[in-house]
């Protein structure tokens, strides 16, 4: 087992580099868990989404106070200092999506029926704003109706009448989806992110070993050793397999550990299976890169470009539903795309009948096909390279 031992030694030597990716994975996971935990949605009963807005009030009157109260049903008010830069920053970084300013003298003019307007500063075309627009217009239009048609109405009585009207609310009934208990969005995120970190670790680890073995002098020396070629190859593959399985297992453990409460479901089994298929595919891709790269510099450059590139375009960093059609078409030439696609389907799965499972399996099959293709190209490339030398 000399070859195997040597492989492990090389892997150990490259451990710090690989650890970086594991640590990044862990940190990102932790950050995501904490940020996702805050916005976890209560599925039942129906709850209204609240948009974040800044309400800047240049005058105080019962009418404006009433508007503010009505808006509080659909908006979360964020206190901001009334300074251009602070407001602009908050809008740019989406601390608020809507800034409403009630100009001075608004109430007086409004009550006497003059044309007045509130000022809004928004992120153009944003969906949350449609919602706030509707509510403000509703409030003021109803108020106008009262002012015009009931002579001499006071602000106080206007507001109390409006409050009464606005207490009416349409009932919302939830049509419960068939038996979905566990929230799979964390699991989906963790497993998708593996497409970046696991692939990085595999490429780094396996190419590091191959670069050593592909050294011409070393290979010639090995060739004249009394160990036969089959044994060398078998040990070599065994080392690759151990490395792959070890990296995969550590990552899966992390995924499960961070998501313990939701992990006990059938979905998890398929997540794990899918990630294993991806790990196989990743190791054969690494084998290919190891066969093509001539130096460590080249290998690390290729590793970064491949892992980042795959992850960006196939929906690891940015969810697939936000990617353009064309980008996804290009991404379908990468195994990561199929891995992420299968994960997304698994995350959505509520019933495990044959037709929904077939969809997942077909995505896995594409990954296997990629694995075979990479392996084939790698063998041809390796052979060619040895002939050329």
């Amino acid at each position: 087992m000399q070859v195997f031992k040597l492989c492990m030694k090389i892997a150990r030597k490259n451990m710090p580099l690989m650890m970086i990716y594991l640590v990044v994975f862990l940190v990102v996971s932790l950050v995501m868990t904490s940020s996702l935990a805050g916005e976890q949605k209560v599925e039942e009963p129906f709850t209204r989404v609240k948009s974040k807005m800044a309400f800047i009030n240049e005058e105080n009157s019962p009418l404006v106070e009433g508007l503010r109260e009505e808006l509080s049903k659909i908006a979360e008010f964020v206190e901001l200092p009334d300074e251009t830069e602070a407001l602009q920053d908050a809008l740019f970084f989406r601390k608020v999506t809507y800034i409403l300013r009630v100009p001075e003298g608004f109430t007086g003019k409004f009550m006497s029926g003059e044309d007045v307007q509130l000022e809004k500063t928004i992120i153009p075309d944003s969906a949350g704003n449609v919602y706030i627009d509707l509510s403000i217009d509703k409030y003021l239009n109803a108020a106008r109706l009262y002012i015009k048609n009931i002579g001499g109405i006071t602000q106080e009585s206007l507001v109390s009448r409006l409050q009464e009207d606005f207490s009416l609310s349409a009932p919302v009934k939830m049509q419960a989806p068939a038996g979905r208990q566990k929230d799979q969005s964390y699991a989906r995120f963790f497993f998708n992110y593996m497409a970046y970190s696991l692939l990085s670790i595999l490429i780094l680890g396996i190419t590091a070993i191959m670069l050593v073995f592909n050294d011409k002098g070393l290979r010639m020396r090995n060739a004249c050793s009394p160990v036969n070629a089959t044994s060398i190859n078998v040990q070599f593959m065994l080392a690759g397999a151990v490395l792959t399985v070890a990296a995969w297992m550590i990552m899966v453990m992390c995924c499960l550990f961070f998501n313990l409460e939701n992990a006990l479901s059938i979905n998890t089994v398929y997540f794990i299976l899918n990630s294993f298929v991806f790990a196989l595919c990743g190791s054969s891709l690494s084998f290919l890169i190891g066969n093509l790269a001539k130096s460590q510099d080249v290998a690390s450059a290729v590793c970064n470009v491949v892992t980042l590139g795959f992850s960006f375009i196939s929906g690891v960093f940015v969810p697939q539903e936000y990617l353009a059609e064309l980008v996804l078409k290009i991404a379908s030439f990468t195994p990561s795309y199929w891995f992420v696609r299968a994960n997304n389907k698994i995350g959505e799965m509520t019933k495990f009948d044959l037709s929904s499972l077939m969809e997942v399996f077909s995505d896995m099959l594409v990954q296997v096909a990629f694995a075979v293709a990479f392996l084939g190209i790698a063998l041809v490339a390796g052979k060619k390279r040895r002939y050329l030398e």
Binding site: K41, V42, E43, F46, R48, V49, I74, L87, Q88, F92, F93, R94, R101, Q117, L118, E119, K120, T121, D125, S126, A127, G128, V130, Y131, D133, L134, I136, D137, K138, N141, A142, L145, Y146, K148, N149, I150, R161, L162, E164, D165, F166, S169, A170, P171, V172, K173, M174, Q175, A176, P177, D297, A301, V305, G309, F312, I313, E321, Y322, A324, V327
Partner: protein, 382 residues
């Protein structure tokens, strides 16, 4: 002497392919990925008409007012809903297979007479609910007025039909709060600090105790500072050229919006390049460890600073500027990013100048520390 050193240094650096890859090709490739992944992101916030089904029953057909209002907001380019008027069974199916966000069912025998059926709580569902509430509440207001003033019926109808828009959009600045360009600003800032690789190499090749090449150069009868400055200017030239390639790629190929002050963007990038280079030299002079560790520290610091300035998550920059403002002023990558941001987003130059002044301070700091560390070294033995 300048020409000689400059020329050979230029050749030398250009042949270092790994360095050229990381300082030029990598940012360009990363920019391409950013562009591919993020260019569609704005549309995720954008409002798209909501698919909504209405149960086609007797109650709905008779409630002409509601029908009219619903049809009114479901037509035209800025419509709220894509409306499907279908039998109840079909509406249920459509909700089940997610082809609508919810469906409305009118039933005058119950109070309130309109109910909404959904599968989950979300923004779109909330908008539909708001719409229905709006209708019900306005109706209630009309009833209240009529009970006091029965004669006003015609007037109220007229008032209702001319619903007023009480909102006027004002924008704080000329630029859109579109945060796609921001990703590219952090990328440019990061590339500027990748210039640290060049700075590091300049020190490695001039400090006699680090490399044999440097030992030989130190033995030559040229003043060390001169050699250093001449070869550093070759490095600076290459790095500037690389950054210009990146900027031109962003501007012309990816069509990133730099706002109206593109000239200033180039100027800022140039200062960033000097800052990056001097940062690398500084790290290399201070850290007396192996090449690998120096590179590790360079990349690590740059990435960490980029992270704090919002490269991976834009909110990071805002969170820090709100809670630990000091940290945004002592992070040179953030100073650069913020300078680009100010150029794009603000109409005034005040904060831009502040950023540039702080960046200048860092350049001076890095340069003078490097100068103190590398001058007049004598070695008894190497």
């Amino acid at each position: 002497m300048f020409v000689h050193i400059f020329k050979y240094r230029l050749k030398c650096l250009l042949r270092d392919r790994a360095n050229i890859f990381w300082t030029m090709m990598f940012p360009v490739i990363l920019a391409t990925f950013f562009y591919m992944a993020l260019s569609n992101l704005g549309s995720s916030e954008a409002f798209k008409p909501i698919n909504l089904a209405v149960v086609d029953n007797e109650h709905f057909r008779q409630d002409l007012q509601f029908k009219n209002v619903l049809e009114q907001v479901s037509s035209g380019d800025d419509r709220l809903f894509n409306l499907f008027i279908v039998p109840e069974e079909r509406a249920k199916e459509m909700l089940e297979d997610n082809s609508v966000e919810g469906y409305i069912k009118a039933d005058t025998s119950i109070d309130p007479p309109i109910a909404l059926f959904v599968k989950k709580s979300g923004l779109n569902q909330s908008i539909v609910k708001s719409f229905i509430d709006d209708y019900l509440q306005t109706q209630s207001a009309v009833k209240a007025i009529l009970s006091e003033n029965p004669g006003k019926y015609a007037e109220i109808l007229r008032d209702l039909s001319e619903r007023k828009n009480y909102l006027k959009q004002v924008s704080g600045t000329k630029a859109n709060p579109d945060n796609l360009p921001f990703f590219f600003y952090t990328l440019i800032a990061m590339s500027c600090f990748y210039g640290g690789f060049f700075g590091n190499r300049e020190i490695t090749d001039i400090q006699a105790d680090i490399s044999p090449l440097a030992a030989r150069i130190n033995a030559a009868p040229v003043h060390k500072m001169k050699t250093f400055l001449y070869s550093a200017s070759a490095a600076l030239l290459i790095h500037l050229a690389e950054l210009f390639v990146l900027l031109i790629y962003l501007l012309l190929v990816l069509k990133v919006d730099f706002g109206p002050k593109t000239g200033y963007v180039f100027l800022t990038t140039m200062s960033g390049s000097v800052a990056g280079l001097s940062f690398g030299a500084f790290v290399s002079a201070v850290v007396k460890k192996s090449e690998g560790i120096k590179i590790g520290i360079l990349v690590g610091t740059t990435m960490f600073c980029s992270f704090l300035s919002g490269m991976m998550n834009q909110n990071m920059k805002y969170i820090i500027s709100q809670n630990v403002p000091v940290l945004s002023w002592i992070n040179p990558v953030n100073l650069l990013t913020d300078a680009f941001y100010c150029l794009y987003y603000y109409d005034t130059y005040r904060r831009y100048y502040l950023n540039m002044a702080a960046l200048l301070f860092f350049i001076v700091l890095f340069c003078s520390c490097t100068f103190i560390l590398i001058r007049r070294r004598r070695y008894a033995s190497l």
